[in-house]
């Protein structure tokens, strides 16, 4: 930790060296959320959701790393291992994420066949028009 002591009198640089991965994680999380909220194309929304999920994986994995440790496979001549518990959780999360992506894409394909568009704004227009026509004309 000697190189960190050299930075002790420059607090922002020291914070950058130790917390940079958290800041990038938060940037990716906010970018993913921005894509989901602000863009109306469904496939881009699903890609943005994937980015959000991978930022959550980074958030779990970075505290588990021990500087000077090795990957958690036990061999006789190694002593310090990184924490294996986050790896297990993230392994499950990655595969569940791809299952969700597959289902979302299948739904998108069916919506395209029904409405001939995959932009949420245009679909909302069509649905609003149908609702208006249904309530407007009492036959």
């Amino acid at each position: 930790m000697s190189d960190l002591d050299a930075l002790a009198d420059r607090p922002l640089l020291e914070a950058l060296a130790t917390h940079y991965n958290y800041w990038i994680t938060i940037f990716l999380m906010c970018a993913g959320m921005f894509i989901v909220v602000a863009r109306s194309n469904m496939i881009k929304t699903l890609v943005g959701l994937g980015i959000f999920q991978t930022s959550a994986y980074l958030l779990y994995l970075s505290p588990g790393k021990i500087l000077g440790g090795t990957p958690p496979i036990i061999a006789d001549d190694l002593a310090v291992y990184s924490n294996p518990l986050p790896h297990v959780l993230i392994l499950t999360a990655i595969v569940v994420g791809v299952a969700t992506l597959a289902l979302g894409l299948a739904l998108t394909v069916r919506i395209h066949e029904a409405y001939d568009t995959i932009e949420e704004d245009e679909i909302t227009d069509v649905v609003d028009r149908e609702d208006y026509a249904a309530t407007e004309a009492p036959e």
Partner: protein, 149 residues
């Protein structure tokens, strides 16, 4: 289309090795990185590569739909079956210590070998389900076709 001769020859050389690598990753999951999920995805990717280069009909002849759809619940059945086997042998659900009987002292269990067998069977279940699901999803997407065709 004769422009894809390079693709066809290269794919014919690669695909068996990809499947073999997938099996290697699965069976060496105890000693290095790997395991059921990675191996299942690698094997599914090899068959998807075959379908992309040689056409959907050739892929459906090689790996038919009924086989792929059978693999999807078969893995879950194997996994749950290991748990039921534990309960039959007298322990709790998915307790691998009680799977095998030990040699000399009659009535006790061989914990280490029970763990090995338990993990081995469970990983096979995971491999089968993951391969089946990825291929089912790919076949479903590929078999849809555009409405104007």
């Amino acid at each position: 289309m004769r422009l894809d001769v390079i693709l066809r020859v290269a794919a014919k050389l690669f695909i068996p090795f990809i499947i073999m690598f997938g099996l290697y990753v699965h069976l060496h999951g105890d000693f290095g990185p790997g395991g059921g999920f990675q191996a299942g995805v690698i094997i599914a990717a090899a068959i998807v590569l075959y379908a992309i280069i040689f056409g959907k009909a050739a892929a459906l002849r090689a790996v038919p739909k009924w086989a792929v759809e059978l693999m999807v619940p078969l893995g879950v059945l194997i996994y749950a079956g290991v748990g039921v086997w534990s309960m039959i042998m007298g322990g709790e659900y998915l307790n691998y210590n009680v799977l095998l009987h030990a040699g000399e002292p009659v009535g006790t269990y061989d914990a280490i070998h029970g763990q090995h067998w338990g993990v081995f069977l469970v990983e096979i279940g995971v491999l089968v389900t993951v391969t089946g699901t990825m291929l089912t999803i790919f076949y479903s997407f590929a078999g849809r076709g555009r409405p104007d065709e």
